[in-house]
């Protein structure tokens, strides 16, 4: 997909004016956060499991070459094939070649962020193959020619009336007077129309939540069961996965599963967890005859050993989205590329360049909620700061902004000067704002005061007040 991360500020402004989006995000903030905290409260070992999850992934990352070789060996031993893709173009070519060899006309798809990252749908369409999204949310946005706005709830930016409009426009073969007021009716309609597509597809493409090195297995976690119909019914199953999805053993998988659903939807566990190993076996009456795993790098190996390595622990649960005040205000599309929210703010500059996506790590108040709920304990704010530093090093910000930062740095390195400067600042602002107690507009901060007032300081700095209090005490 074409990135619009450069236009983040415009995107965000537009999103803030979208009433449907605001209504949808209100539901998201209320439900997801509440469900997660209830699920966590029921599992006293949760914090310990987070430590272990982090340690498992750290261990994998420091042995990634060896685990990938083991995984590949075990897939091949079961009759499956592994395709290594250095970038998105290679992955697209590999998927297309497999589909062509299978003589595919239609391809069903389970939910996959890697599929979004490499833009596989457009590529298949351009080459005469019809991709059919089968996850309800993905199906809705495919009909609307949109991209997912959330890792696990791709159509979360829409309210039900919008979905109904979309279905009426797309499903013209059905009675125009049918009722479509409730999610139940929408869900049934999608089920009814997608069932024959599952049965007719020549190839099924799924993502992978995990790859198990020990057994050469790919794992998908879903609630709908669409992923299972996608990978079981067609003759060929293609798994799209990135390098860092590896876990060592089935025991390690079990630990991460305990973290995933609780962090994502607040469920004890998702409805379907499916562990797939190779193509159908002799004697089997169903299952794919071919099993392919496309292993995508696309910039990830370059993160290993850098200050961004920790982001490779991410299991794409979406908890950071659900707890982020910025995401909660603007939704996922404003971020302008596949990955939004706090994880997108860290991952996107790496995958498409900090020149393109420098706005994203700046769209944070550093409140730290993302890190506090991340099941993998990824220090997201710290990594956003690293990107801001890189931006500064590469002279990517406007000159006035840079000058301001330099002035700040100069003062911060000279504590006595800093104290004098802030005392003067506080006194001037306190004096000039004494009548109203707030400022409607401020020189050099017009952007900030455009949407809100700036409270006037009391006239003294914190350090001055602190010194006075200490004196009173003694």
């Amino acid at each position: 997909m074409r990135a619009s991360s450069r236009d983040f500020k415009d995107n965000a402004r537009r999103a803030l004016g979208d009433r449907n989006l605001a209504a949808a995000l209100t539901i998201l903030k209320r439900d997801f956060a509440g469900r997660r905290s209830a699920a966590v409260a029921r599992l006293p070992e949760f914090e310990q499991l987070r430590d272990e999850g982090r340690d498992i992934k750290n261990h994998v990352l420091t042995h990634l070459d060896l685990y990938l070789e083991t995984f590949e060996r075990n897939v091949m031993a079961l009759g499956g094939q592994v395709h290594w893709a250095a970038d998105a173009a290679e992955a697209r070519a590999q998927v297309l070649a497999i589909c062509r060899a299978a003589g595919a006309k239609t391809v069903t798809k389970g939910k996959s962020m890697i599929a979004e990252e490499i833009g596989i749908n457009e590529h298949l369409e351009e080459n005469g193959i019809t991709p059919v999204e089968t996850d309800l949310g993905e199906y809705i946005i495919q009909l609307r020619h949109e991209t997912p706005s959330h890792l696990i709830a791709p159509a979360i930016h829409l309210v039900k009336t919008q979905v109904a409009e979309t279905f009426r426009a797309a499903h013209t073969q059905l009675d125009a007077a049918r009722p479509l007021d409730e999610p139940r009716q929408l869900c049934d309609e999608a089920r009814q129309l997608l069932r024959p597509k599952f049965l007719a597809a020549d190839v099924g493409i799924t993502g992978a939540n995990f790859l198990v090195a020990e057994t050469g297995s790919s794992v998908i976690v879903t609630n709908e069961g669409n992923g299972d119909l996608t990978q079981n019914l067609p003759r060929v199953h293609i798994v799209l996965a990135s390098l860092e999805k590896i876990v060592p053993t089935l025991e390690d998988l079990s630990t991460l599963l305990r973290l995933l659903a609780r962090s994502a939807t607040g469920q004890e566990c998702s409805t379907y967890t499916t562990v797939s190993s190779g193509p159908r076996r002799p004697g089997d009456s169903d299952g794919p005859e071919e099993y392919h795993v496309v292993l995508l790098d696309n910039g990830r190996s370059a993160m290993l050993g850098t200050e961004f390595q920790d982001i490779l622990r991410c299991i794409r649960c979406g908890a950071c989205f659900n707890h982020c005040p910025v995401y909660g205000a603007i939704g996922g599309h404003a971020y302008g590329w596949v990955y939004g929210g706090p994880v997108g703010a860290v991952l996107t500059p790496q995958l498409i360049g900090v020149e393109e996506a420098g706005n994203l790590p700046n769209a944070s108040t550093f409140c730290g909620r993302c890190e506090s709920v991340c099941p993998m304990r990824i220090p997201l704010p710290k990594m956003m700061r690293h990107w801001r530093e890189r931006e500064f090093e590469r002279h990517l910000q406007p000159s006035l902004y840079r000058a301001g930062l330099k002035l700040w740095a100069f003062l911060a390195r000279n504590p006595p000067l800093y104290r004098v400067a802030t005392e003067i600042g506080a006194a001037v602002l306190g004096w000039s704002g004494r009548s109203r107690g707030r400022f409607r507009a401020l020189v050099l901060a017009r952007g900030w005061t455009k949407g809100r007032d700036m409270p006037a300081p009391e006239g003294k700095t914190f350090m001055a007040l602190w010194a006075e209090r200490q004196k009173q005490k003694s």
Partner: protein, 234 residues
Amino acid sequence: MDESRDRILGHLRRALNREGSRDIAAQTVGERLAAHRPNTIPARAVAGDRDARIGLFQTMAEEAAATIARLASVKEVPAAVADYLAQRNLPSQLVVTPDPQLQPIPWGDRPTIRWREGIANADDLVGLTGAFAGIAETGTLMLISGPESPTRNNFLPDNHIAVLRAEQIVSTYEEGWKRLRSSTQPSQGQFTMPRTVNFVTGPSRTADIELKIELGAHGPRRLHILIIDDATVG
């Protein structure tokens, strides 16, 4: 593309300073893979005896919107199935997997039930399967694929009825894996992972529209589990 494979692995090895450390690292990885060491196990999953385990399985499965019937013996299955279908106005017709565990079911006791053994197709409204294990921790069925248990039977029919013997219920996922690893016949040599292992917790659902949970997205609309208490059968 072997070229890409070499390039990616080369990147990784350089980033990890693999030169010189490969033997030690390979040993670490080998040991870790062989040990199958469980991590922290939630205490609530392992507390209690057999009855508590069955009770926990039932509680958690029902919480996930599955329904449960407990039967004293496999002989009661036809009557339980007939009741279930009648209560929900479902046709008395089902597809049954050719699972040896299901062979002792005396279908002849209920001649009104029309059943067929084999693989499910798009028209089957009701499917009955066995199970490999039940996971008490989350009320989850563990189902494995094979000639006698085609995977699509777990997903295609609108109504999934699963027969689970009480002693198949284990406390945790780790216990499930342990059972699976030891289930390989000695003649087959090394353990081979089944093609598909399905963990199923309740019926299919979605919350993709306004986060409202609706059952029956693409998989079964209903999941009914018959727990057989009789330890001597099967």
